[in-house]
C-alpha cells in the first residue's frame, strides 16, 4: 500500500514506550493516577523485569507515580501499567487521595507549610 520505506529508527524510538507493557495502555487497576502514592511492600523479589525491579527499588519510600515515570524516563501511561502489575503481584501498595476527603486540618497544615517555605 505504501511504497515508502519507514523512517530510519533512531536510538530514541528503538523501543517504543508501550513495548515495555506488552502493548497494554491501561492498568489492571483503573484508579491509578499520576498523583497516586506508591510504596514497596513485601519481600524483595528477583523474578521481576528490568523496569519493574527499578520501580520496586525506587519506592521503598512513598512516592507518586508521576515521579516514578520521571525517574524511569517513561511516559506516565507506561508507569501506570507497570505499577498496576506490581500492585496486583503484591510488590507495591498504593494510596489514592480523594480531594473531598482532605480535611480542614490538612489544609491548615498545607498553609502553614507553604508559609514556612
Amino acid at each position: 500500500m505504501n511504497d515508502e520505506l519507514p523512517p530510519r529508527a533512531t536510538a530514541q524510538d528503538f523501543v517504543r514506550p508501550f513495548v515495555i507493557t506488552g502493548g497494554r495502555t491501561r492498568a489492571v487497576d483503573s484508579s491509578l493516577k499520576m498523583e497516586t502514592m506508591v510504596q514497596t511492600v513485601g519481600k524483595p523479589r528477583d523474578d521481576l523485569g528490568f523496569e519493574s525491579a527499578r520501580i520496586v527499588d525506587y519506592c521503598y519510600e512513598p512516592i507518586s507515580i508521576a515521579e516514578i515515570a520521571a525517574e524511569l524516563g517513561v511516559p506516565l501511561g507506561v508507569a501506570i501499567v507497570i505499577v498496576g502489575d506490581l500492585v496486583a503481584g503484591g510488590c507495591l501498595e498504593t494510596t489514592n487521595s480523594d480531594p473531598v476527603e482532605i480535611e480542614l486540618d490538612a489544609l491548615t497544615r498545607m498553609i502553614e507549610r507553604v508559609r514556612a517555605l
Binding site: P17, M34, V41, G42, E61, P62, V78, T108
Partner: protein
C-alpha cells in the same frame, strides 16, 4: 538504599538526603500511609507555570510525558480526535512535603490550548488550581478559567507581571477576565518565591473557606 522518610525541614531533596540517613526503617515493609494532594498551575504558553512550580518546589521540577492515544483522549468527544493521535505532551511538576503524612504536588498544565483535552486527567482529583494570567495576553487564560469554572474546581488567579508590561491594578484585571467576585485575584511574580507563596496560600485558603462554608451549611 533509601533512608527513612524525611518530612518538612530537610526540604525533602530526596536523592540528596536519603543516603545520608541511617536506614532504621529498612526492616519494615508495610506501607506507611502518605496522602498526596494535587494542585494544578494553569495558564497560557510562556506565562511562567514552570517558574512558578520551581519557586516553591523542594525538588527541581520534573517532567513527565503523557503519550496521548485516542483511547485516553476522552470517550465523549471523539469528534475532537480524528484518527490516531500520537502527540506526546510534557508536564512539569514539583513537590512540597507537608509532613510525614501529606505531600503536595504542583502540576503545570501543558501550555498550548490544543492540549486542553488532556486536562481531564490532570484536573481529575485535583484540590484546586492557580491560573496564571499575563496582562499582555489575558485571553490566553480564558481557556483555563472556563475549564475550571465548568468543572467546579476551586481556583484563584495570579496576575503575572512581566518587565515592561503596564502594571494593571487587580480590580481592572478582574474585570477584564470576567471572573466572579468570590474568586480571589492576586498579583503574582512567578520568579519571586514570596509572591508564589502568597498565590499558593491564597488558593489553599480559598479551598479552606469553601470547605468550611459547606460544612456549616
Amino acid at each position: 538504599m533509601s533512608g527513612p522518610f524525611e518530612p518538612a525541614g530537610a526540604a525533602g531533596a530526596r536523592s540528596a538526603t536519603a543516603e545520608a540517613q541511617p536506614s532504621s526503617g529498612q526492616n519494615t515493609r508495610s506501607a506507611r500511609k502518605v496522602t498526596s494532594v494535587k494542585l494544578v498551575v494553569a495558564g497560557g504558553f510562556g506565562v511562567g507555570k514552570t517558574t512558578f512550580v520551581s519557586a516553591v518546589s523542594e525538588i527541581p521540577p520534573l517532567t513527565t510525558e503523557a503519550a496521548m492515544t485516542t483511547e485516553s483522549a476522552g470517550v465523549d468527544d471523539a469528534s475532537l480526535v480524528t484518527g490516531k493521535v500520537t502527540t506526546t505532551v510534557a508536564m512539569d511538576f514539583g513537590r512540597i512535603t507537608v509532613d510525614d503524612q501529606l505531600v503536595m504536588y504542583l502540576f503545570g498544565t501543558p501550555g498550548q490550548e490544543r492540549f486542553a483535552f488532556m486536562w481531564d486527567d490532570l484536573c481529575d482529583g485535583a484540590l484546586g488550581a492557580v491560573v496564571l494570567a499575563d496582562t499582555r495576553r489575558l485571553d490566553d487564560s480564558f481557556v483555563a478559567l472556563d475549564y475550571f469554572e465548568a468543572r467546579n474546581l476551586p481556583f484563584v488567579v495570579g496576575v503575572n507581571h512581566f518587565i515592561g508590561s503596564y502594571h494593571y491594578p487587580v480590580p481592572e484585571v478582574r474585570e477584564a477576565l470576567g471572573v466572579s467576585p468570590d474568586i480571589p485575584v492576586v498579583d503574582c511574580d512567578a520568579r519571586n518565591r514570596e509572591s508564589v507563596k502568597v498565590a499558593l496560600i491564597t488558593l489553599l485558603q480559598h479551598v479552606y473557606d469553601l470547605r468550611s462554608a459547606a460544612l456549616n451549611r
